[in-house]
């Protein structure tokens, strides 16, 4: 068991948890958090290199670093700890460790640091556990572990109407997981053909393919919506603006950067992977919903005045694009969806970090009360412009690569559907989704123009200072990643290609 690198991601976090619990002052807590997150980054880079190396050497197993250990068993009921990764999980693990790293620096001066970091680390345990698991039971367990700390993190360290927001976010996400749990139990009872032992193991369920067509049409929407709530799918997205607005900086970063990716990842890994037929047939419903998310979120963001609301609606739009692309059931678009998860994770974490830093100085998030920050805090302002440019899809930054991959893939699928007489829904919604690049430009430039440029609004702001060194580390690390993906996207294509190739994902991409 301990020869598998994946286990160590959770173990390192547990050691960090103990370390923080034993720390005596804030310096020790910082030291533990930073060391731990650096180790996580080092491990995920090692994992990435090793993964590519193995793939290069011709290892074509669907999941690498596979391991399965019995956890407990009662009669026929077995629960295993099953781990394994493919390109998508590796990408997500890398993303999570970068954001944990940046998040630690962004909460450098948080109040009650011990409790805060304990909960934050617990949340990370859930995130990493979720991404490495291949067993529905443990997956769901880690999923819940990631959700619960949110309530306390927002309720205690939040701002504004924090009790309401924390309650709303937790209840809505829990509502989603209620659906999800039903769906997962349903899958379990159909996980094997008659007479064979049932299993929670994802790979075995997929191999058995024994979920009947009727059950698929019932279970697919359950699981898809269950995960979709966390992916901010219209109309289950309203926890996002309120939740983000009240959450403290690092929590917003982790939540928008990583937790919302749990939704997209789960939709793909569980709902679509296990129930391909239903995914084919019911895709249209969710295509409409996610297509709406994309433009709806963008239009809503245009009229908000609170920086965090703008960014939360922008996340609705961008995360909508992730699910939208997944539902295209097309290699290119699905690769784009993962790119978009990475890209959105990094840039939205950057956004929330910057908003937190600006809020920490000006004590307002209302763009009408601020202006001309470029003159006062040039470093933060430049970072904000870069984040904005990434968000509106400027080439050379990550957003462009992700969006273009999605649009090319979706358009291709749309045209194929159209030509083969399968309706023009995908084509129409692809073009509608393309419109989001214009609307995004509108709301990003509106904020940039009001917040950073123009004359200084408030005389008191003139005394404010620019970023401190730890804030510089947090933002610079994210910007470097955003630019790296934007400049060298081919690297990630290599990582993701095998996952979505028609050979390994034949169950879904079989029609064309």
């Amino acid at each position: 068991m301990f020869s598998n690198i994946l286990i160590y991601f959770v173990l390192v976090l547990l050691v960090m948890f103990a370390g923080v619990a034993l720390s005596r002052d804030i310096k020790q807590i910082r030291a533990v958090a930073v060391t731990g997150s650096v180790i996580l980054i080092a491990m995920s880079v090692y994992l990435l290199v090793d993964f590519l190396h193995l793939r290069h050497a011709g290892v074509d197993d669907e999941m690498l670093f596979y391991g399965s250990w019995s956890w407990f068993a009662a009669g026929n009921f077995h629960i295993n700890l099953t781990v394994g990764v493919d390109g998508v999980s590796v990408a997500m693990i890398l993303l999570s460790s970068i954001i944990v790293f940046a998040g630690s620096f962004a909460s450098w001066t948080i109040e009650q640091p011990k409790a805060f970091f304990l909960w934050l680390i617990l949340l990370s345990v859930g995130v990493f556990g979720f991404f490495i698991s291949l067993d529905l039971f443990t997956m769901f367990m880690f999923y819940e572990v990631a959700l619960i700390p949110m309530y306390l993190l927002i309720g205690v360290w939040g701002s504004g109407n924090k009790n309401y927001s924390a309650m709303k976010l937790t209840l809505m996400l829990m509502g989603g997981s209620a659906f999800l749990m039903l769906g997962l139990i349903g899958i379990y009872y159909h996980s094997a053909p008659e007479g064979q032992p049932l299993t929670w193991n994802l790979l075995e369920i997929a191999r058995n393919g024994s979920i009947s067509h009727g059950w698929q049409t019932f279970l697919f929407p359950m699981t898809f919506v269950g995960f979709g709530v966390l992916g901010a799918m219209f109309p289950f997205h309203t926890w996002s603006p309120d939740g983000h607005a009240s959450a403290p900086t690092a929590v917003s970063m982790l939540h928008a950067g990583v937790l919302m990716k749990l939704g997209g990842y789960g939709c793909f890994r569980v709902a679509m992977y296990l129930m391909p037929q239903a995914a084919q047939e019911l895709a249209w419903i969710f295509l409409i919903l996610t297509g709406i998310s994309v433009v709806y979120g963008a239009f809503s963001a245009c009229v908000q005045t609170d920086l965090k609301y703008i960014n939360a609606y922008s996340s609705v739009s961008h995360c909508g694009l992730v699910l939208f692309a997944l539902l295209m059931l097309n290699t290119t678009a699905m690769t784009g969806a993962v790119m978009q998860m990475l890209s959105h994770g990094l840039m939205t974490a950057l956004f929330f970090a910057l908003i937190g830093m600006i809020y920490g100085r000006t004590h307002t998030r209302d763009i009408r009360q601020m202006g001309g920050l470029m003159k006062i805090m040039p470093y933060l302002a430049v970072c904000y412009v870069i984040a904005g440019m990434a968000s509106l899809g400027l080439p050379g930054l990550s957003g462009f690569v992700a969006e273009m991959t999605i649009f090319v893939g979706s358009f291709q699928q749309g045209m194929l559907d159209f030509i083969h007489g399968a309706g023009s829904l995908r084509l129409v919604f692809t073009i509608i989704a393309c419109c989001s690049i214009v609307i995004t430009a509108v709301y990003i430039l509106r904020v940039v123009g009001k917040l950073l440029f123009g004359p200084v609004q408030d005389k008191h702001h003139l005394e404010l200072t620019d970023a401190t060194w730890w804030e510089r580390i947090a933002t610079a690390s994210l910007i470097i990643c955003v630019a790296a993906i934007g400049c060298f996207p081919n690297f990630f294509e290599h990582l993701l290609r095998d996952t979505f190739s028609p050979e390994t994902f034949h169950a879904i991409i079989s029609n064309f």
């Binding site: 290119t332 690769t335 358009f411 291709q412 214009v438």
Partner: protein, 678 residues
């Protein structure tokens, strides 16, 4: 060759990164010198590459039959979507990209040099953000160079977006000025909207052809020479298929190819400020004047023309798309010329004149058809319009940059964009005066200045295609002469200059500013004699004879007469202070108002964006989200809440009640079970 090609792109990029990251630690002077030197080296490299391409006669540049070829210098895979659609970043050398290399690096170098003088005040104090300015200029140069050497349409789109962003940054250079911020935002969003069309066009075209690459869409490989292609009519399998299935694949009455080309042209309309997407360009004049000269006159705004020219072997297969190009161009040309006659801000006049001149290039491309045509009794060379368009692009870049830099010198000396504050400056600023006059003569199309030759060829091409457009464009040419000389006379003549109390008299600027003016003026005098027909044609097949020998004198005579008339009218009205302009204005008040207010396009857009998009889409959606969607969620919560309140009375803690409930329950259960058993 490959090293030079890489360096041409790498030097500006590295300069951007260096000045952007380390600029603020450098003294202002060194940032300027470094930026200028970097651009100088790039210019020399670009010249060597272009001269090698045009004159070396190597087999990869010119075929045995004397046709110029397309040569892919390098092509690096950047992103691989799937096997058939791969995005590369590469360097394509062909007549138009070589020409553009020369144009961009020349103007860019002049602007870099000029800005050393312009970006400081009269006491030699540097502008704040001087280093940032040079960083952005380098970013722009990099993006523009990447755009013109693109080997595939997606690379073009990538750099297309990058020039848009650098234009945004440079227009908004004075970021504390609200008007500059608004202008930069407007420019970005309008062009972004156009790029939406471009993107969908790319997707449509690439899906149907199976390629992004220009060489595969518009050329055939040359046997025996690696990476070299001969320009041809659309040749990709996919394009043939579009035609083979043209009956099947139509949408709303137009073929897929027409749709793709028109959508791509929409991108070009945005960047090149064609009506109705022109509204950003006049506002873009909020940027520093050297930026206007570089981006909004000479290079970026002609990207749309370049795009159509690049895909010309496809456009020429599709009459409908070319007709749209022609109509959009012609209408824009007239509109912009009319508006230019009624502007007060010197830079706005130049901006509208730019729009009008770019429209000339568009029209010229639009009227080009393959086949024999005659214009007023003379035969027109095949593909003359294409050559004329590129020729005009070249000459226009030179004289319009000259005019803008001249305007910059005036603004720098006077401290205002408004030419009512200028008047009678000819004695004070002789160098600026002479060079500005050269620019005006060139744009008006007076022989032997550069604009004469290129405009004459455009008009010849128009006459060859259709008399209506030819007459239309000739009138616009006359208007051009009129408004340019109106500007010239109002600045340098009209009445004696009066320096306000306490100010120095205006004077010529330092050498860093006058030298570029002189160089560009010389180029504007001689550029007309560059044998463009031998260098740049749509398929690389040269047009024999010199420009002078090829002139169609019938057309030339007409255009000269019209231009001279325009100048004479301007002279009559504006040379000396007189009431004639005022009378004219009062005689035609509506026309003046409409022209002065640019036909109220901005107000229309203001209405659409604020009232319709913000008021009728964004706000209702935001309201709907807060009140309906979120309201439903809150309603669930409050129903649950109320229900729990309602039933919590049962948990009263009152033991008597619990006993009663217990007893009643037990008796009921007993009764039910007895009934069931019996």
């Amino acid at each position: 060759m490959e090293t030079s090609a890489i360096l041409i792109l790498a030097i500006p990029l590295l300069m951007f990164l260096f000045l952007g990251l380390a600029g603020k630690y450098l003294p202002h002077k060194w940032a300027g010198i470094l930026g200028t030197a970097g651009m100088g080296v790039t210019m020399i490299l670009a010249y060597t590459v272009a001269f090698t391409y045009f004159f070396s006669g190597a087999p990869e540049f010119i075929s045995a039959t004397g046709d110029r070829l397309q040569h892919v210098v390098f092509n690096q895979e950047w992103l691989n979507f799937y096997d058939k659609l791969t995005i590369n970043i590469g360097f394509l050398l062909d007549p138009i990209s070589a020409m553009m290399l020369v144009v961009i690096t020349t103007i860019s170098f002049m602007v870099h040099l000029y800005s050393n003088g312009y970006m400081r005040d009269h006491h030699g104090v540097w502008e704040t953000g001087f280093q940032r300015f040079y960083a952005f200029l380098s970013l722009f140069s990099f993006s523009m160079l990447g755009l013109v050497v693109a080997t595939n349409i997606f690379q073009m789109y990538i750099f297309w977006e990058l020039v848009g962003a650098s234009s945004y940054l440079l227009i908004g250079f004075y970021y504390t000025k609200p008007s500059a911020v608004a202008a930069s935002k407007k420019a970005f969003i309008v062009t972004r909207f156009a790029d939406l069309g471009f993107l969908v066009g790319i997707l449509l075209l690439s899906f149907n052809t199976g390629f992004f690459s220009f060489t595969e869409m518009t050329s055939v490989p040359v046997e025996g020479v690696a990476d070299t292609y001969q320009i041809n009519l659309g040749t990709a399998e996919g394009i043939k298929n579009i035609f083979a299935n043209s009956a099947a694949s139509t949408f709303m009455g137009a073929s897929v190819l027409t749709w793709a080309l028109v959508l791509i042209f929409m991108g070009g309309m945005g960047k090149s400020a064609m009506m109705p997407l022109h509204i950003w360009l006049p506002d873009a004049m909020e940027g520093p004047t050297p930026v206007s000269a570089l981006i909004h006159a000479a290079t970026m705004v002609v990207a749309g023309v370049f795009l159509v020219a690049r895909l010309f072997p496809l456009y020429v297969l599709n009459e409908a798309a070319l007709d749209i190009v022609t109509v959009v161009g012609a209408v824009t040309a007239l509109y912009a010329a009319m508006v230019a006659c009624a502007q007060i801000d010197i830079k706005r006049v130049l901006a509208f004149s730019t729009i009008s001149q770019i429209a000339f290039m568009m029209v010229s491309l639009g009227v080009t058809r393959l086949g024999h045509e005659t214009a007023l009794g003379h035969e027109v060379h095949e593909g003359l319009g294409y050559m004329a368009s590129m020729f005009h692009l070249f000459t226009h870049a030179m004289f319009k940059a000259l005019l803008f830099l001249g305007a910059g010198a005036l603004i720098h000396a006077i401290g205002s964009n408004d030419y009512t504050a200028m008047h009678g400056l000819r004695k004070y600023m002789p160098v600026t005066h002479i060079t500005f006059l050269v620019g005006c003569l060139a744009i008006a199309g007076i022989i032997p200045f550069a604009g004469f030759f290129s405009k004459d060829e455009i008009l010849t091409a128009c006459f060859g295609h259709s008399a209506v457009w030819a007459i239309w464009m000739t009138l616009v040419a006359g208007l051009t002469a009129f408004y340019m000389f109106r500007l010239y006379f109002l600045i340098f003549w009209w009445k004696e200059h009066k320096t306000p109390e306490g100010h120095h008299a205006p004077h010529d600027q330092p050498w860093t500013m006058t030298l570029p003016l002189i160089i560009l003026a010389v180029i504007s005098c001689v550029a007309g004699f560059v044998p463009f027909g031998k260098l740049v044609t749509w398929n690389g097949h040269e047009i024999a004879g010199s420009n002078l020998a090829n002139l169609n004198w019938n057309v030339a005579a007409i255009s000269l007469v019209v231009a001279v008339c325009g100048i004479l009218v301007a002279m009559k009205m504006y040379k000396k202070e007189n009431p004639l302009p005022e009378k004219m204005r009062n005689a035609l008040p509506n026309l003046w108002d409409w022209c002065h207010h640019r036909f109220y396009w901005d107000e229309l857009y203001q209405f659409i964006t604020h009232k319709i998009i913000f008021g009728c889409i964004c706000k209702p959606i935001a309201w709907f989200d807060r009140h309906i969607i979120d309201g439903t969620m809150d309603a669930f919560a409050s129903i649950t809440n109320k229900a729990s309140y309602a039933i919590r009375g049962l948990q009263s803690g009152n033991v008597h009640m619990y006993v009663w409930i217990y007893l009643v329950g037990a008796i009921l259960l007993a009764a039910i079970s007895m009934i069931v058993i019996l």
